[in-house]
């Protein structure tokens, strides 16, 4: 029973991290209809940026939590204006291929600059050690990641569901042409939303730096799990991404606890089951005919 509780806590902690990382992917797909294959690379850039900021400028974790997402936001805006926007009117496949290519380029650029062995990063001060929760011991940093990710998800949910900005994004997501005909300059919103999604990926990267290997390829496997999450949650659904993130975290932890090697396979079994029962995902809407 203790083991089960321990696995549950670990699953939730991992789930929070997955939810945060998948959130940006869902937002970008929702608002732009772009299947952003480069999301894993943006996540990687966030982690690499934290390590470089620490190494070169001595900027610590806490400051990186603010600075890196801002840098990634700007980077996202540049990518959107330079590349992504030109393909938005074409088939969804074009931007998929573009972002796929972009991720290869980013990975190789980082390899070229920082090598392949990975970069060092220190656990932020005050977040080492363990916390005792009932009969379960949790690393403080895991707990922090969980709470932080949860808070970010709540803020994003609040902004999207309760503010005028969120209302416009939702409308532009659901039916962009109609929003234009109602006097909303959808194009002007699309760019910052893309930047925001990229910033979220970068933020996940900062959180990953202390407990994941910081290498050029750290996002290459990660993106596969993130795609599974957004498919399970329903493409473009923010709530779906969060719920599916936690689900996947739990499935992975129980898988590691009881099924060993199959822990990753189980994630995709879950995905297959969800697709079979609800093709649009847990919270996805059926495509308008």
């Amino acid at each position: 029973m203790d083991a089960f509780l321990q696995y549950t806590v670990q699953g939730l902690a991992a789930g929070g991290f997955y939810a945060l990382a998948a959130l940006g992917l869902a937002v970008i797909f929702g608002a732009l209809g772009v299947v952003n294959f480069a999301h894993g690379s943006f996540y990687m850039l966030g982690a690499v940026a934290s390590a470089v900021l620490l190494d070169v400028l001595g900027i610590q974790f806490w400051a990186a939590l603010v600075i890196v997402p801002i840098l990634m936001f700007i980077f996202g805006i540049i990518i959107e204006l330079l590349l992504v926007q030109w393909l938005l009117k074409l088939d969804i496949l074009y931007n998929f291929l573009l972002t796929f290519g972009l991720s290869l380029v980013l990975v190789d650029l980082v390899k070229r600059q920082y090598g392949v062995s990975g970069l060092p990063y220190e656990l932020p001060a005050g977040l080492g050690g363990l916390l005792q929760i009932g009969s379960v011991e949790v690393p403080s940093y895991q707990l922090f990641v969980f709470l932080f990710a949860l808070a970010v998800c709540l803020v994003v949910w609040f902004v999207l569901s309760k503010t005028r900005v969120g209302m416009i994004v939702r409308a532009a997501t659901e039916e962009p042409e109609r929003a234009r005909a109602l006097g909303i300059n959808v194009s002007a919103w699309v760019t910052p939303v893309f930047g925001f999604g990229v910033a979220l990926a970068g933020l996940a990267g900062v959180l990953a730096a202390p407990f994941r290997a910081i290498t050029a390829t750290m996002g290459t496997n990660f993106i596969i799990i993130l795609f599974a999450i957004v498919v399970i949650g329903g493409l473009g659904s923010v709530l779906g991404a969060v719920v599916a993130g936690f689900l996947v975290g739990l499935v992975e932890a129980y898988g590691q606890g009881y099924a060993g090697t199959f822990s990753q396979v189980l994630i995709f079994v879950l995905m297959a089951v969800v697709i079979a029962v609800r093709p649009a995902g847990l919270f996805g809407r059926k495509e308008a005919v």
Binding site: M167, I168, R170, A171, T173, E174, E175, E177, R178, A179, R180, A181, L182, G183, I184, N185, V186, R285
Partner: protein, 230 residues
């Protein structure tokens, strides 16, 4: 208010509008009548800027707007009520109403909206598509009124609705007209059209084949119904 000259529109190889000219003046309700596929909806989409493959001129308030984006046209005062009503499922009723920007000083206030459409207040927290078809139609109209549009493009507002609701929509159109708003109405319901409109354009295979006053229109109702295949 709006003048259209020599408008032609294509869908790929097919020409759906052919050298169409029409105008709607302030405070006037004009209908476009024609069979399915005559080009009525394309006409409205062309005015809104959503159909781009076209030639000819469109001027609104004396300004040429052919090159304008849809949102610029909306902000200039053209309000679109699409045939599927265009209610957002992910927005509440209140959000659907307040989504578009207010573009004119004569825009309806929330109080006016609620007075005319009391259901909009009662159901304001419901998600948009939880409303009945008639309510969704009311919401779509209320939305462009709150925006302050000076020209309403109504695409078959009576379609699929109970007679009592169609009647209510008629009343609302007359009220709008009284405030000096222009309405371009696409309708297949000849009876309904004749109760609200001043003039009618008869559209066939992408061309305006006839322009009728409402009296002529009523007089030739049977013939027109036959033309429309009803």
């Amino acid at each position: 208010m709006i003048e259209i000259h020599g408008l032609s529109a294509n869908y790929g190889e097919a020409r759906v509008l052919n050298d169409v000219s029409l105008e709607v003046h302030q405070g006037e309700v004009v209908t476009l009548v024609g069979r399915n596929g005559a080009g009525k909806t394309t006409m409205l989409r062309s005015i809104m800027g959503l159909h781009r493959d076209l030639s000819g001129s469109i001027s609104f308030d004396g300004k040429p707007i052919e090159k304008w984006s849809p949102n610029a046209r909306a902000r200039a005062g053209i309000g679109w009520v699409p045939d599927d009503r265009g209610i957002y499922a992910s927005l509440t009723v209140a959000e659907n109403l307040t989504l578009p920007p207010v573009v004119h000083k004569d825009a309806w206030s929330m109080e006016q909206i609620h007075a005319t459409f009391p259901r909009m207040r009662e159901r304001r927290s419901s998600m948009g598509t939880q409303l009945s078809g008639g309510e969704q139609q009311m919401l779509a109209i209320a939305r462009v009124l709150r925006m302050g549009s000076r020209l309403l493009l109504l695409d078959e507002p009576s379609e699929g609705l109970a007679p009592v609701i169609v009647q209510r929509i008629g009343e609302i159109i007359r009220e709008i007209k009284a405030q000096g708003v222009a309405v371009l109405l696409v309708e297949q319901n000849v009876k309904f059209a004749s109760t609200v409109a001043d003039r009618h354009y008869l559209l066939s295979q992408g061309r305006v084949v006839e322009q009728l006053s409402n009296d002529d229109f009523k007089a030739r109702e049977v013939e027109l119904l036959e033309h429309l295949g009803m």
